[in-house]
């Protein structure tokens, strides 16, 4: 069997492969191409999913179960979803496929010099399957997964997230065939993030394309992404590369790893850390630099998730965890800033007549 059909290191993924590795993994591969630091990992491709479904005789079985289902009946859809998900999660990953996933995982552990490297397992949707990553909800992301057995289990649970009631209803509404649905799974080294958050390559509140806006909190980025805290906010001028604004907020909660259980927990921030700046000035500038490079690589404004890691023995590092095109400002219709005029005097006259608003 050709291994690269079923598992693919992020380094080999790019945007032309969205159908095979999904948007998330494709974009991580793209970032690596631009020499952006991304935590290492690999994609379990849609073909692996197809193979699994076939080998377990689930293709027809699922098709039959969904036939004639009235998606507007919530309870009925709920029941179908539960059954299908249970079949998938109870299915068996065949030995050759299991070996390929396990080999990739061991390779990753060797690379990070961490036995049973903790990983994040996330679904990586192909374009038409799901409206966006956030649609599927939280159940398709599993953090702190360690060891091959758990990895295989979480992979199946990711696959099964294709059949949540919302996903089923959405496809029905959009007229997509359930049988055409494909899902890739991304397996990525867990970053023990010290601080994390999101950043935009333009200012999302003013639209200024020269400003990188960074939102940051302690621990994992989830608290920022989900809007559970008022994060610290930093502005970096892209051209002069200086920090033009710092707002340090009262950060009440954060997500971190319980050292006993290796589970992600949501806890209150210690009183003395709540008002501290969650990023060093040098880190703010490094993030600004990365935002600039990512934007240049894609040629459009981007919305980026990032994390800093301070675990020994390595020194502190910054990682980009995800990036996707910014949508709000990029979709706005562009009018010329000023109506074109023959000369500067004409602009001055027009400006004078309009005046300056005072209140």
């Amino acid at each position: 069997m050709d291994m690269s059909r079923y598992v693919l290191p992020f380094e080999e993924c790019d945007l032309s492969m969205v159908n095979r590795v999904g948007g998330k993994c494709a974009s991580l591969g793209e970032l690596l191409k631009a020499r952006i630091p991304v935590p290492p990992g690999f994609a379990v491709t849609t073909e692996a999913f197809d193979l699994f479904m076939e080998e377990n005789g689930l293709v027809e079985k699922v098709q039959a179960r969904l036939e004639g289902l009235d998606e507007s009946m919530v309870e009925e859809t709920e029941r179908a979803s539960q059954e299908i998900r249970a079949w998938i999660e109870a299915g068996t990953i065949s030995e050759p496929l299991e070996d390929m996933i396990a080999d990739s995982y061991r390779l990753l552990s060797r690379r990070t010099r961490t036995p049973a490297q903790p990983v994040a397992v996330r679904s990586s949707a192909t374009a038409e399957d799901l409206p966006d990553a956030s649609f599927a909800g939280q159940q398709d992301t599993f953090l702190w997964v360690r060891g091959v057995d758990d990895l295989l289990d979480r992979t199946k649970r990711c696959w099964s997230s294709l059949f949540t009631p919302r996903a089923i209803a959405y496809r029905a509404r959009m007229g997509f065939e359930h049988s055409q649905v494909k899902l890739s799974v991304g397996v990525q080294k867990m970053v023990r993030s010290f601080a994390a958050g999101v950043m935009f390559t333009l200012n999302p509140s003013t639209g200024d394309p020269a400003t990188v806006v960074i939102d940051s909190n302690w621990g994992y980025g989830e608290s920022v992404v989900a809007g559970e805290v008022t994060p610290d906010q930093f502005h970096v001028n892209k051209i002069s590369m200086d920090v033009t604004k710092k707002t340090v907020s009262d950060k009440q909660i954060y997500y971190t790893t319980d050292p006993e259980t290796d589970e992600v927990i949501r806890i209150e921030v210690d009183a003395e850390r709540r008002h501290l700046q969650s990023l060093l000035d040098s880190e703010i500038l490094m993030l600004g630099e990365l935002a600039n490079r990512i934007e240049k690589h894609y040629g459009k404004h981007m919305d980026i998730e990032w994390a800093t890691e301070k675990s020994l023995p390595y020194k502190g590092e910054i990682f980009i965890v995800q990036s996707r095109p910014e949508t709000v400002w990029s979709r706005k219709k562009r009018e010329p800033i000023e109506k074109p005029r023959a000369s500067a005097v004409d602009h001055i006259v027009a400006g004078l007549i309009k005046g300056k608003k005072v209140r």
């Binding site: 500067a344 602009h347 300056k356 005072v358």
Partner: protein, 610 residues
Amino acid sequence: MADLKFPSPHEAERIPGTEGWERMYPYHYLYTTEDPERKKYEESMFWFYDGLHYPEPMYPFDIIWDEAWFLALSQFNNRIFIVPPARGIDHRIHNGYIYITPVPVTDPEEIGKRAEFFTKRAGFYYENWDKLHDNWEAKMKEVINKLAMLEIPVPPEMEDDAVVMDGIGVSTGYHLLKAYDELISLGILAWQYHFEFLNLGYAAYVFFVDFCRKAFPDIPLQKITQMVGGIDVIIYQPDQELKKLARLSIDLGVDEIAMNGNAETVLAAMEGSDNGKKWLEAWDKAREPWFHVSTGTGWYHHDRSWNDDLDIPVSAMRIYIEKLRKGENIARPTEKVIKERDHLTEGYRNLLQSDEDKATFDQMLATARTVFPYVENHLFYVEHWFHSLFWNKMREVAAIFVEHKFINDVEDVWFLTRQEIKDALWDLVTAWATGSNGRGPLVWPKEIEWRKGVMQKFREWTPPDAMGQVPETITEPFTIVLWGVTSESMSQWAKLKAVAEGDLSKIVGFPGSPGDVEGIVRVCRTVQEINQLQEGEILVAPTTSPSWAPAFQRIKAAVTDVGGVMCHAAIVCREYGLPAVVGTGSATSRLKTGQKVRVNGASGEIDILS
């Protein structure tokens, strides 16, 4: 901004014990309730305190420059270039503080008509800027030359034989009156020229700013000024001369002489050797005109020039000699400045989305760059060179008053208005001619003592930021640029107030030059104190001027009480890459030498750490 409320001009606070202060100033500067129409007009306008030019209350004589620009700016706007939506700027005074208001044109039809004239007239100036500007420089030098040559004659006990032998037919008394008139008239003329270009310059600049802000809503003003800022601006020249003199003293081996004693002993010692004489030659050459640079803004009579106090350039030059001896580079980082300016311009331009936007950007930038050198350079010609000479000519007039006991001290003359001085001169020359006693000695010393007391009470009073009604829009370019009277600055005022009343560990001002540093405060109230600055300290000053330039070689950041993004401290700090927070209003009174602070030049905040 609707909640911004200011007192009515007619209900502004009066200070007990100053009753009658109104006679110290021109009668038309006073708010009045006597005429219903004028009262209504005054109530309806937005009068804001011109703290940028007048951090102190006005001396009765020094108000001459306010009158001069009241006329000059307004006529160029309203009668010469015909700015479409704005007439002139009206002025008032209250408790010694100047309040001004732009007068708008409200009728759209009139605005349209005015626009035709403005396009033609201002367009002519923009197109022929460089040629007209050369012409301006020639005119300005002529005025300065006339002023320098103007003789203030001292009435003698008896006129010279020549008056008779040459059949001159007039007396020194007549000449003194005439010379005084000429002196005042030259001052007014210099200010006519001052505004010939200035408002056009500001207009071009302000709409480039406007464009940049629309395209880049977060862009700091300092980045825009960096894009248009000139490289060879003459405000740097006095400082350049000191550097040259420092280098020359080392090259000639006379630097040790330069390092010892005061200016008088240095200059005397230089006479002792051939190399010393060579250095003196260069020194004398630098003095004309560069040492006419004022140690203040030049707006007040007490802003003395380097030529008035040679100890200042001598001690400033020593900072450079020390640096050169240590092998440090004291040259202006012009290459770096040019590189940064180009990088910034290209970076912003590349972020523009369309070719239309790029074309507009290019048009506005080119014009802004054409006008900007004037905006920066006129200060040296008028406020420094001309004013420094002017104040001293007035001191010659004052000396005659002292001799005739009209006033006790030369420096008392500033407590009289220019009209009172004219009247007093008549009193003096007629008494001199007649051989009788003038009335002046009975009137002025007493009046001046009273006025000194009034001025002191004015100083202790805090003028409100503004009076009257806040308008919807401001269209007068000068108002927008110089005072930044926009919704932004209004909320900044509100912020400054809130901070002043609440958080004692913070001082807020205008972001003058970006950067973020911690350091030890050194409060320098005058340029004479810059010698106390230690390497790496943070300079805290009321304001700075070109004569403060050497200070910027030693410091890590600058903080001023007065000034906007275009003030001297902000310009120089941007050049040297030092953070600056300007226009804090109160830094010199709230900070003490030795305190530790953190200065954020991008946000305009100063945190007091100890």
